[in-house]
C-alpha cells in the first residue's frame, strides 16, 4: 500500500513529449528573446565599459564613459530634466484630459458614435505626419492657430520655436492624440455598477460627489494604469520631439545633415535622442550604451511598479 508510484515508461515518454511540445510552441519567442532582448542588453552593458567608435577595435576604459555621460555630456542632464517635465505636465494633462473626454463621451446621448470616432481619429495619425502638421499649424509666421489668435486679439506665442513653449506645444499634440486613453477610460467608466450611482443619488449626492466618491474609486486602477503606461511612454518619447525640432529649425532631413539636437535650446531633447546622438551621430558607442542603460533602469522601475500594482497582469488563469 505504501509503494511510491514509479513513473512508468509510458508516463515518462508522455512528459517528455509534453515538454518538447511546450518548447516547440515557445520556440519563436525563445529565439526572439535571446537574440533581440537578452543578447543586446548584455552587449549594451559590455559596450558601456568600452571605447568603441564602430570602426577600430573596442578597448576597455572602465568607468570613463559613465563619468563622461554624467559629468561632461551637454545633453544628458537637459534630457533628463525634460523627461521630468514631460512626466509631470504631459502625463498629468493627458490623464486628466483623457478622463474628461471619457466622461463626456459616456454621457453624450445624441451623436455619441460620431463624437467617439472623431475624438479617436487623431490617435491614428502617424506621429511624423501629426508632428509635421502641428509644426505647421503652430508656426509663428503664417500658422492658422496664430492667425486666429491674432484675429481675436490674443498673444501669439512662438510655439515650437520658443524654448518656453516647445514642450507645451508637444503637450498640445499629445492631447490631440488622446484616443487610446479615451477608449480605455470609456470602457472602465461603463463598467462602474449603476446601482452605486443610484444609491448615491438617493443619498442626495451632487454630480461632483458622485464622480468623486463613486466613479473615481471604481476606476482608480485604470487611472493608475494610465499614469504608469504614460510614464513608460515618456521614457520612450522620441519621434515627436525630434521631428518637431528638425522641422521647426528648418533642418533638411536625411542623413549627413548637421543637426543640433533639442531645438530650440535643448528644450525638446529626450533621453532616447541622447542615445541616438551619441551612438549614431558622434559614433561614441560606449557613451550611448551608458545612456541606454540609464533609460533601461528608468523604464524597468516603472514596469515593475506596474506589474506589482496590476497583479491581474500576471495572474494565472483559473
Amino acid at each position: 500500500m505504501t509503494t511510491v508510484p514509479v513513473p512508468s515508461a509510458a508516463l515518462r515518454a508522455r512528459r517528455r513529449r509534453s515538454a518538447l511540445r511546450t518548447l516547440g510552441f515557445l520556440s519563436p519567442w525563445l529565439v526572439g528573446f535571446s537574440v533581440f532582448f537578452a543578447y543586446p542588453l548584455i552587449a549594451t552593458v559590455y559596450f558601456s565599459f568600452m571605447k568603441y567608435d564602430g570602426f577600430t577595435a573596442p578597448s576597455w576604459v572602465g568607468l570613463k564613459n559613465w563619468a563622461y555621460v554624467f559629468q561632461d555630456n551637454p545633453f544628458f542632464w537637459p534630457a533628463l530634466r525634460n523627461t521630468l517635465w514631460l512626466v509631470l505636465v504631459m502625463v498629468t494633462c493627458r490623464v486628466v484630459f483623457g478622463l474628461g473626454i471619457g466622461v463626456l463621451i459616456t454621457r453624450i446621448r445624441t451623436g455619441a458614435g460620431f463624437f467617439r470616432t472623431l475624438f479617436y481619429l487623431p490617435y491614428l495619425a502617424p506621429p511624423v505626419a501629426a508632428t509635421v502638421s502641428f509644426v505647421f499649424l503652430l508656426n509663428p509666421g503664417t500658422g492658422p492657430v496664430n492667425t486666429i489668435l491674432a484675429a481675436i486679439g490674443l498673444g501669439e506665442p512662438d510655439w515650437f520655436n520658443d524654448p518656453g513653449w516647445s514642450k507645451p506645444s508637444l503637450t498640445l499634440l499629445a492631447l490631440w492624440c488622446i484616443g487610446d486613453l479615451m477608449v480605455i477610460f470609456m470602457a472602465s467608466l461603463l463598467d462602474v455598477p449603476k446601482e452605486q450611482y443610484e444609491a448615491a443619488e438617493l443619498d442626495g449626492a451632487s454630480a461632483w460627489q458622485r464622480f468623486r466618491f463613486v466613479t473615481l474609486p471604481n476606476i482608480s486602477p485604470i487611472v493608475l494604469f494610465a499614469v504608469i503606461t504614460g510614464v513608460i511612454a515618456t521614457m520612450q518619447y522620441y519621434t515627436e520631439p525630434l521631428v518637431a525640432a528638425k522641422v521647426a529649425s528648418g533642418v533638411i532631413g536625411g542623413s549627413g545633415q548637421h543637426f543640433e539636437p533639442g531645438y530650440p535650446d535643448k528644450s525638446t531633447l529626450t533621453v532616447p535622442q541622447v542615445v541616438y546622438n551619441l551612438g549614431f551621430q558622434r559614433f561614441d558607442t560606449g557613451a550611448a550604451c551608458v545612456v541606454a542603460l540609464v533609460l533601461f533602469v528608468l523604464a524597468m522601475v516603472f514596469t515593475v511598479f506596474l506589474m506589482r500594482r496590476r497583479s491581474g497582469f500576471m495572474s494565472p488563469e483559473d
Partner: protein, 301 residues
C-alpha cells in the same frame, strides 16, 4: 405591486402628476444638462477636427497662398496631390512601408500565436517568469538595445540600408502581440480545447482549427495594431534605412520631404494628407476590431 412595475422606466422618481412643478424642474434640468454636455462635445470636436481641416485646406492651396495668413484657399489646387505622388521616391517609400507593415504583421502574428497559446494553456515551470519577461520586453524602449542591434545587423550580417533588419525580428514573436493574444486566449473556455483534444486533435491542430477561428477578433486587432505600429514607425527606419533612400518608408521619407520642400507648406501638407489617409480609411473599415483591441490592452489586464 403591478402599478409599480408598470411605471415608465424613464421616470427615476415617481412624479405625482405629469405637470407638477417637480417633474417640470427635473425635465428642465435634464434639458439643460443635455445642452451643456453637447456644447462641451462640440467644443472638443472643434479641437480634434480643426487640425485636419487646416492641414487639408493648406494642402489644396497654391504655394504662394500657403505662405500667407489666409485660411481658405482662393483656388483649389488638386494637382498638389499629384505633384507629391509623382515626387521621385514617393512610390518607393509607399512600397517599402507596405512591405515593412505587411510582412512584419504577418510574421509577428503568425509567430506570436503559438507562444501566446502556450502561455495561456500549457502548464510548465517558469511560465510566470516567461510572462514577466514578455511584459518587460514590451515595456523596453527600443533605444535601450539599439546600439548592439545595429552593430549586429550592420557588421555581422551587412544588412544596414535594407528593410530586413526591420522585418526579420518579427518572425520571432512580438512581445506586445504575445501579451495581447494571451490575454484574449485566456477568455476562451477550456471546454473547447479539451473537446478538441478528446476528439483526437493534437495541440497544433487545436490551435489552428479551434482557437484561431474563435480568436479572430483578437487576431484582427493585433494585426491592425501591428500594421499601424510599422506604418508609423520612425525610429527603426531612421536607424537601419536612413543611409539608403531606396529603403526609406513613408514616415521617414515624409520628414525629408519637408526638408527638400523647405518653404512649400502646401506640398508638405498634401504629403501629410497622403500619409494619413490610408490609416484613416483602414480605420473606418475596421473600427470595431480597433476599439476592442484598445480595450483589451487596458482593461482586461
Amino acid at each position: 405591486m403591478t402599478t409599480e412595475l408598470s411605471l415608465p422606466r424613464t421616470a427615476p422618481t415617481p412624479a405625482p402628476g405629469k405637470n407638477s412643478s417637480a417633474a417640470r424642474t427635473a425635465r428642465r434640468r435634464a434639458a439643460l444638462e443635455w445642452i451643456a454636455l453637447h456644447s462641451l462635445a462640440l467644443a472638443a470636436a472643434l479641437f480634434f477636427l480643426l487640425p485636419f481641416v487646416f492641414v487639408f485646406l493648406t494642402a489644396v492651396m497654391s504655394g504662394d497662398q500657403a505662405l500667407t495668413r489666409d485660411l481658405w484657399p482662393h483656388t483649389w489646387e488638386w494637382g498638389n496631390f499629384a505633384d507629391v505622388w509623382n515626387t521621385p521616391g514617393f512610390l518607393t517609400w509607399w512600397r517599402n512601408t507596405l512591405l515593412y507593415a505587411g510582412g512584419g504583421t504577418v510574421l509577428a502574428v503568425g509567430s506570436s500565436l503559438p507562444v501566446a497559446y502556450a502561455l495561456a494553456r500549457f502548464r510548465f515551470r517558469g511560465r510566470n517568469v516567461m510572462m514577466m519577461l514578455v511584459i518587460a520586453a514590451m515595456m523596453l524602449p527600443p533605444q535601450v538595445i539599439i546600439v548592439p542591434m545595429y552593430l549586429f545587423w550592420a557588421k555581422q550580417l551587412d544588412l544596414a540600408g535594407t528593410l530586413w533588419p526591420l522585418i526579420i525580428p518579427f518572425a520571432f514573436g512580438n512581445a506586445f502581440t504575445i501579451f495581447l493574444l494571451r490575454q484574449f486566449l485566456l477568455t476562451i473556455p477550456r471546454e473547447y480545447t479539451e473537446a478538441a483534444r478528446i476528439d483526437g486533435c493534437g495541440e497544433f491542430r487545436t490551435l489552428v482549427k479551434v482557437v484561431v477561428p474563435m480568436a479572430r477578433p483578437a487576431i484582427a486587432a493585433c494585426a491592425l495594431f501591428h500594421f499601424f505600429y510599422c506604418w508609423n514607425d520612425y525610429f527603426g527606419p531612421q536607424i537601419y534605412a536612413s543611409e539608403n533612400p531606396a529603403a526609406w518608408t513613408l514616415s521617414y521619407g515624409l520628414e525629408s520631404f519637408k526638408g527638400a520642400h523647405q518653404t512649400d507648406w502646401n506640398l508638405t501638407m498634401a504629403a501629410t494628407v497622403l500619409v494619413m489617409a490610408p490609416v484613416i480609411i483602414v480605420f473606418f473599415f475596421a473600427q470595431k476590431a480597433f476599439v476592442e483591441g484598445v480595450t483589451l490592452t487596458g482593461v482586461k489586464g
